[in-house]
């Protein structure tokens, strides 16, 4: 027997607010104008990274905002703990949750997932001869898939930060990481050799939520679409 958890189906749907998951950090600031244009005004401390609160009511009683780590936005939405979320395409590529739909490209948080290596080793051998390569990354699945597609095993060193240190200290030959301006790479003597994917943030929705509450979720997608079009027009 699996330990029981509250049977949400027993309560009328209207009593449950829709939960919007937002990523902490870099993208949160870029979300603010979009939320404003969409008419979503969360409690003021939502953007305060020092606030201990994690769940915030908004001006709309049928919408609550939760603030979680960027990678966790996808997990919250995939499991249906949050109904909708804003999340980088890098996170979606990494987790590849089939339960997540990404119906809207918000165009914010532009960056790329790239391969980088020390400037000194660039061109020192022919990558097409490799059987395997050691890669430090916080995107083990993206890195593994990228190299598997060209017939190379990626030996993953899974790090959560400071990837740029890894090649210099002998931890790995390359890194696969998120690059925005490339200045961190440059400062650490690394050179971007390949772009795996260009990344923007997406509005994501839980598949079952869309199927069982099509009106409510559809209305939120439409609101964010309108807000995003208004942003582009400026």
């Amino acid at each position: 027997m699996t330990a029981p958890f509250p049977a949400a189906s027993l309560a009328p749907e209207a009593q449950h607010p829709i939960i919007l998951a937002l990523p902490k950090g870099r993208i949160l600031a870029e979300c603010a104008p979009l939320l404003e244009r969409g008419g979503v005004r969360p409690a003021t401390d939502y953007a305060d990274e020092d606030s201990r609160r994690l769940r915030f009511p908004t001006n709309d009683p049928a919408l609550d905002v939760v603030r979680v780590r960027p990678f966790d936005v996808a997990t919250f939405v995939a499991f249906g703990a949050a109904h909708i979320g804003i999340c980088g395409a890098d996170v979606l590529m990494e987790f590849d949750y089939p339960e997540i739909y990404a119906p809207l490209d918000l165009g914010i948080g532009q960056c790329r997932v790239s391969v980088a290596e020390p400037a000194a080793t660039v061109g020192s051998d022919d990558p097409s001869t490799w059987s395997r390569v050691r890669v430090a990354t916080k995107y083990p699945n993206i890195a593994r898939r990228h190299y598997a597609a060209r017939g190379v095993q990626a030996e993953i060193v899974h790090l959560n930060g400071a990837m740029e240190l890894a090649p210099g200290l002998g931890l790995s030959r390359l890194i696969v990481d998120l690059v925005q301006t490339g200045s961190t790479l440059l400062a650490n003597g690394l050179q971007e050799t390949e772009v795996i994917a260009h990344v923007t943030s997406r509005l994501i929705v839980n598949r079952t939520a869309l199927k069982t509450q099509p009106e409510a979720i559809g209305a939120w997608i439409a609101r964010f679409r309108a807000a995003q079009l208004a942003s582009e027009a400026i």
Binding site: L92, I100, P103, N206, T208, K211, T212, P214, E215
Partner: protein, 384 residues
């Protein structure tokens, strides 16, 4: 370091579990109730074996479960056998072999356990119960609708009257891509983008279809508005014919059950690898797992068929706790007539197996709801 802690014998392999009282009984009762509704609608029960030869099990529509099937070698014939991961292909095999002589339309029902090689993070179960119906030999909106209506009645019969049925056309996306001549790597990327409703990727890989497909992504929703939007979309002939069939099916369902919650998602094709027509997925509001799925496929020698498989495990997680049969403790040497009468009245009887115990405290200790006192079943109260 040595790892010398003996494994805990309670640990089961991942995705497997013991059902304890009262859940095991609730599950059995729910499956019995579903099967009763199926039977009342003329669906006759079949019972395929748990395991059969791999080449039979995975032939035809069974091929979709190849990755998910456990195999063992038959020591007798040295042929590979597969443990079923889905019962529908087995029932289709029975219809196409042993029951070819039976008149069509052929209505069959089944219930049983299936095993899968892998669970996912979100649906970790590897042993799943199935209870379902197959309607073979007829191709038409009335048959598609019957499956949904019987399924809805069966679910309502076990207390699930707020389910919603999501109707899909798994063939629509491939047909649109065929009609637009999209092939190769672009097609793979586009199919994946459609599966994830990734609007940005659909726009990137959609080529001439980008606009239409983006519209279709947004069509998903309540049945009537979605169908109106589909009717308004300019579709090539084969795709339009598929949508017309979906429209007829929705109409046939709503004619008989106007209050049934129906949604339509025309370009969804997830998990419908052997399906050829209108398909259906069952959801319960507030739950994040499917309660069942089904749809149209080709059985055996290309015979048209449709069916619906319900997942009792998921249903039980969505159901309110069931009323448990009252349990009455019988003091030492209660007459067999009296205990039979109590059972007839709906009690479970728990007789004392030795003399000299206080019936009330024994009843409480054994989790009974009642104790037999002065020839009547008395409700145990917290004070007594």
């Amino acid at each position: 370091m040595t790892d010398d802690t003996p494994p805990n014998t309670a640990l089961l392999p991942s995705g497997l579990r013991d059902l304890l009282p009262p859940e095991a009984e609730v599950e059995a009762a729910a499956i019995a109730a579903l099967m009763e509704t199926f039977s009342a609608h003329g669906y006759q029960r079949v019972k395929p074996p748990l395991i059969e030869f791999e080449d039979g099990l995975l032939a035809g529509s069974g091929a979709a479960m190849t990755d998910q099937t456990f195999r063992v070698m038959d020591p007798d014939t040295h042929r590979m056998m597969g443990l079923r991961a889905d019962m529908t292909p087995q029932v289709a095999r029975i219809a196409a072999t042993r029951l070819t002589g039976s008149p069509r339309p052929l209505r069959l029902s089944y219930a049983g356990q299936c095993l899968r090689v892998r669970g996912s993070q979100i649906a970790p179960d590897r042993q799943v119960a199935q209870a379902g119906i197959e309607l073979l030999g007829v191709d038409g909106p009335a048959a598609d609708a019957e499956i949904v209506l019987v399924g809805a009645e069966a679910l309502a019969g076990v207390g699930m009257d707020r389910v919603s049925f999501d109707l899909t056309l798994p063939q629509l996306a491939p047909t649109l891509l065929d009609e637009a001549g999209i092939i190769g790597a672009a097609r793979l990327a586009l199919v994946r983008a459609l599966d994830r409703k990734d609007a940005a990727a659909v726009a990137e890989y959609g080529g001439p279809l980008a606009g239409l497909l983006t519209d279709l992504l947004l069509v998903a929703g309540s049945a009537r508005p979605a169908l109106d939007m589909l009717d308004a979309a300019r579709l090539p002939p084969l795709s339009a014919a598929l949508c017309a069939r979906l429209h007829q099916t929705v109409q046939a369902i709503l004619d008989q059950a106007p209050n049934l919650r129906l949604t339509v998602d025309p370009i969804e094709f997830r998990g419908f690898r052997y399906h050829t027509g209108v398909c259906v997925t069952v959801f319960a509001p507030g739950r994040h797992e499917e309660l069942g799925r089904g749809g149209r496929y080709l059985s055996g020698d290309g015979e048209p068929a449709t069916g619906l498989t319900l997942y009792p495990d998921a249903m039980l997680r969505a159901l309110p706790p069931a009323a448990i049969r009252p349990r009455v403790f019988l003091p030492w040497k209660t007459s067999s007539n009296q205990s039979a009468a109590l059972r007839k009245a709906g009690y479970a009887t728990i007789p004392a197996l030795q003399n000299g115990l206080d019936p009330t405290s024994e009843a409480a200790r054994l989790g009974c709801t009642h104790v037999l006192r002065d020839d009547t079943a008395v409700l145990l109260t917290t004070e007594s």
